[in-house]
Structure formats: structure tokens, C-alpha cells
Amino acid sequence: MSDAANSEASGEIVIEFRGAGYHLPDGQALLSNISFTARRGETLVLLGRSGAGKTTALRLINRLADPSEGEVLIEGRKTVEWDPIALRRHIGYVIQETGLFPHYTVEKNVSLVPRLAGWPELRVRTRAQELLALVGLDPGIFLKRYPHELSGGQRQRVGVARALAADPPILLMDEPFGALDPLTRAEIRAEFQALQKRLRKTIVVVTHDTSEALLLGTRIALLEAGDLKGLYSPREFLHSNEPAAAAYAAQLHTLEEFERER
């Protein structure tokens, strides 16, 4: 872990892992002794292969799981001291398969959380339109559609809109662009970057895609088999000599070489 990576973001600490770990009931450790912080407005990428513990780390943040060792603090308070419902409403969550409710229209999907939070009807409706526009979908066309009437990319956008609905200060994204074709993915990724510039949320993104990590992250946390191998700025990550990070960087270099030779 380098100091440069830590000093890059200057806002207050929003998410903090203090030696946090998670074990299955049978004792198998999915995550062990993880420590890192994420500051306001930064996009922290959790990078690693499948089974590295990335999703588990996300689930510790919104209390879908409680740490079996150490602790996780959100805005200075341990997650176990938060009311889980209040904590989750405070955090937007975008999951891999989007998890849109198939029986709800886009509008109902997007406005469920504000509605549960007791927003007045008019504000809920305006918010739904705002959100769709925000993620680049025409509200006039899409509000009344059902998830099965959308393309993968559109579903993903709705997933993001839903997570942003109640304007949570923290956003968790689990392989948010994983199921998309490369072109759509690049497109949505770019839009997401523009969106983040405007919204300044604290975002934790899980991915196994190196270029995605480099593009989206202000910092990259490399996870391997439940261990945190290091925290890097994108630049440090690319030029790191540490074997774990170098392996990812080498994969990118191979791509570059391939392109050069052609």
C-alpha cells in the first residue's frame, strides 16, 4: 500500500474496513483481515478473479453479511451498530444480474425506495423521470415498460437509476457492466464516468476486468483468495512490480503488443 494512493482523495472517510473478514459457518474464509478506507467522492475498485471475495466485501458494507472478524465502519459507525434497513437505504446497490423486479414497470422499480421512504407521490414521479433522464433513457418511452421489454444495456441503466433513486451518498456496484457486450459496456462506462463527475458519490465497484478498473477507479484494491494484495492508484497499478498487480498489467501489455504487431 503506498502513501500516494491514500493521499489522492481528500474527503472524509466514508467506508472503513478494519481487519475485517468473513468466514462461512464451516470455517472456510471468504475474506480475511482486510483493511482499507474509501473517502467521499472517490471510486474504489475491488479487482480480483472470481472467488477472490469481492462480492463478499460489498455485502459487508451494506450489512447483507456481518464481518466474522474485525469491523466495517460506515461514516464512522460500525455496520453492526447500524439498523440494517436504514443502512441499506443509505447505500445504493447495483448487482450483477440487475435484479430488477420483473413484475414492476421501470417506473415502479425505480421509485420503490423513495415510495417506501414515504416521499410524496408527486416528488416520487418527478424523481423517476429525472433518474431515467440521468441514465440516458427517455422517460416517455421507458417508464411504463417492464424489464423483459428492455435490452441488457437498458436494464443495466435502470438498475443504476434504481440504486440512485433516494440519492444515497454511497453506491455499491457488483460487476455492473459484466453482462453487456463490449461496445455497450464501453458506452455505459463512459456515461457512468460523466455521471460520477457530477454526483460525487462514494462508489465501490467490483470487477474482474483490468481495463474497467483502470478507467473507473480513483483507487484499485486488488483482492486474491480473500486477501487484500494491495491498494494502488491506476497509474501505480499499471507500473507496479508486485507480482499480483504485475500479472494484471502484463495482461494489458499483451493486448497492446498484439495491436502494435498487427
Partner: protein
């Protein structure tokens, strides 16, 4: 006397018996849904309770209906009135398909959808009522449909303990070796069963969430 004449002559009696039958089946189904759906939810949520619940419902299903009525007859409050007794017995039969389908429907909800609901901060109750039940409603209705058709058939036995219904004609017809009397009970019962099946299958289709 042919069948049509017989039916038109006894129209009011047949109608009366049909209404009794509908009341027995209707009360049974309300009770069976009120008990079966919550039990199905428990089966889906608490795997360790699923064996005892499904096991008991299975056992109830295997007891011959006439014998079940006999067993329940000495039970204090139940045995006092024939319709009470019948509705209890019928409910026991109707439970299994309802419990099973409710459990199947709820367990069949896409885990990603449930995870998203939890992650969004829905409470357990909200997940159940806003997500799980709406998504499994058509599966639950399929169970209700099977149970209803089954109950309409078995309810003819109710006449044996004097609870009325279309079974009256069938029992009388058997005793008097009169085919027309038997048919006066059997045909309306069959029509009821087909009608219930038709209506519930339409409801099932309408309620099925789009995918």
C-alpha cells in the same frame, strides 16, 4: 322420464344442493388458503420445518375421506354440526397442493431479485408482500386450482354425514339404484369442477408476471 325432464322437474332441488355444495367448497377453500399459504411460506423459509409440515399434509391426503369424517365425528366442537365437520375434513385435503405450490413459488423467485430487494433495504415483510408473493401468485393459484377441483369432488362425500350438497343425490341414487338421481348429483358437480378450473386457470394466466 328422460334426463332433461328429470332435471327441469327437480331444478329447484338441484339448485339448492348446488348452492350447498358451493358453500362447502367455498368455505373450505378460504380456510385452506388462509392456512396453506402461510404454511407454504414457512416451508420455503425454514427448511427444517418443511419435512414435518409437508409430511403431515401428505398423511392427511392419504386418509380415505369417509374414514376421515368418521375420525373427526367424536371431536367435541367439530362433530356438533355436519358442515363444520365436512369443511374441516375438506380443508385437510385441500392443504397439500396449496402448501406445496406456495413453497415452490417462493423458492422459485430469482435469488438476484431477492438479493436486490434486501440490498435496497426492504424489510422481510416488504420482500414477502412486494416481491415474493406477487412473483409466485400464479404458482400459488395453480395449487388453489388443483385443490378446488379436488374438493368439489370429495365434497360429495359430505352427504354421508348429512352436510348436504350434490352428494345427496348421488347417495340417494345409489340407495335406490336410480341412475338419473346419481347423474343429478354428478353432472352439476362435474360442471362446477370444470367451471372452477376454467376461471382459476384464467386468473392464473392473468396474474403470471411477465418475463
Amino acid at each position: 322420464m328422460n334426463l332433461t325432464q328429470f332435471f327441469s322437474q327437480h331444478a329447484s332441488e338441484i339448485l339448492q344442493a348446488t348452492l350447498e355444495h358451493v358453500w362447502l367448497v367455498g368455505a373450505t377453500m378460504l380456510l385452506a388458503v388462509a392456512i396453506g399459504v402461510p404454511l407454504g411460506i414457512i416451508v420455503a423459509r425454514k427448511p427444517w420445518l418443511s419435512k414435518p409440515i409437508l409430511g403431515s399434509a401428505n398423511v392427511a391426503e392419504t386418509i380415505p375421506s369417509l374414514a376421515l369424517l368418521g375420525f373427526l365425528l367424536p371431536v367435541p366442537w367439530l362433530g356438533d354440526r355436519a358442515d363444520r365437520l365436512t369443511i374441516t375434513a375438506l380443508t385437510l385435503y385441500a392443504l397439500l397442493p396449496i402448501i406445496r405450490n406456495t413453497a415452490a413459488g417462493i423458492s422459485g423467485v430469482d435469488p438476484a431479485v431477492r438479493e436486490a430487494a434486501r440490498g435496497m433495504g426492504l424489510t422481510g415483510r416488504q420482500i414477502l408482500f412486494q416481491v415474493e408473493l406477487p412473483l409466485s401468485i400464479s404458482t400459488i393459484l395453480a395449487g388453489v386450482r388443483v385443490a378446488t377441483v379436488l374438493t368439489i369432488g370429495i365434497a360429495t362425500i359430505a352427504a354421508a354425514v348429512g352436510a348436504g350438497g350434490l352428494g345427496e343425490f348421488i347417495f340417494r341414487g345409489l340407495a335406490m339404484v336410480n341412475d338419473q338421481l346419481i347423474l343429478a348429483g354428478a353432472i352439476p358437480a362435474a360442471i362446477l369442477a370444470l367451471g372452477a378450473d376454467f376461471i382459476l386457470s384464467i386468473m392464473e394466466r392473468v396474474m403470471r408476471p411477465a418475463r
